[in-house]
């Protein structure tokens, strides 16, 4: 009987966790409290920031949704010359991962023109929310 209970619990946990992730993954989160202290630039990222905003995407080799995120972000920045997309390999940049406390890939952080984190997106991003967040950063930059 024990096995049946364990199997039932495993099924319940999987469904609960899967639904939770399906609901929350890729949602825009605001910056964390300590994010304001961090200022990222070409020095750490190995690539110039966009003049208005920059998407920094943390990826890893074992991550399938990272590819979807890459495609989406490439598409978003294509028509926005002032916005850059920088992809960082989380495994080779564990220093940055620790500094920003990145827990899984893909995580995308949206930087403003000064390299300050304005938004975080954990999990495969969703395009409409991505555009909303970008719009918010760009209008704040302009204001």
């Amino acid at each position: 009987m024990t096995g049946l209970y364990v199997a039932a619990i495993a099924v319940a946990v999987s469904i609960a966790f899967g639904l939770y992730r399906a609901l929350t993954d890729g949602r825009i989160r605001g910056a964390r409290r300590r994010d304001g202290d961090v200022r990222l630039g070409a020095e750490q990222l190995g690539q110039e920031l966009g003049s208005s905003a920059t998407f920094v995407q943390f990826s890893s080799e074992v991550c399938a949704p990272c590819r979807t995120a890459r495609r989406l972000l490439t598409d978003v920045v294509k028509d926005a010359p002032a916005v850059a997309h920088i992809e960082v390999d989380a495994e080779t940049r564990l220093d940055l991962v620790e500094q920003l406390n990145i827990t899984r890939t893909p995580t995308v952080v949206l930087l403003d023109e000064h390299g300050v984190i304005r938004h975080r997106i954990v999990g495969a991003p969703r395009k409409p929310e991505l555009l909303d967040a970008l719009h918010e950063v760009l209008t704040r930059t302009a204001a």
Partner: protein, 161 residues
Amino acid sequence: MSSPQPTVAPKPIDPRGPRFGAAITSVVLAVILILGPGLPALILLIIQTIAFGLGSLVGLAAQPYGLVYKSLVRPRLNPPSELEDPRPPRFAQTVGLIFALASLISLVAQFAVLFYIAVGFALVAALLNSVFNYCLGCELYLLGRRALGRPLARIVSANPN
């Protein structure tokens, strides 16, 4: 550009193959749990461990459930809308192999509680993979790398440039 893409990318695969495999794995693991510690569960567990071992150590092309998909299921389906990198699902096989070995050792050593926990976790991972197309091991991967620290990460890294 610090892109994680390697110089030579492995041949992409039909993403439905690993999901199909995860569905079979889920059923096998659920049956193992329901049977409970004993010879029938042991035999199934050995089969499952070999399946994970082939997928992880040899490659997805050698994974028996993937072969079933390729020969029996795929010919009846439309071609896949997109292909995926085989490295994430292969890593998932490795995670499965670790859990299967833990289950096997627990069973042989008659640690019933550990056996139920290990098979239970493996079942959660397999269900998330098959039902939600979600890779639990891939999520824990970065946390694991952070815990192990940098030196090991560099040794293990398949992409050392």
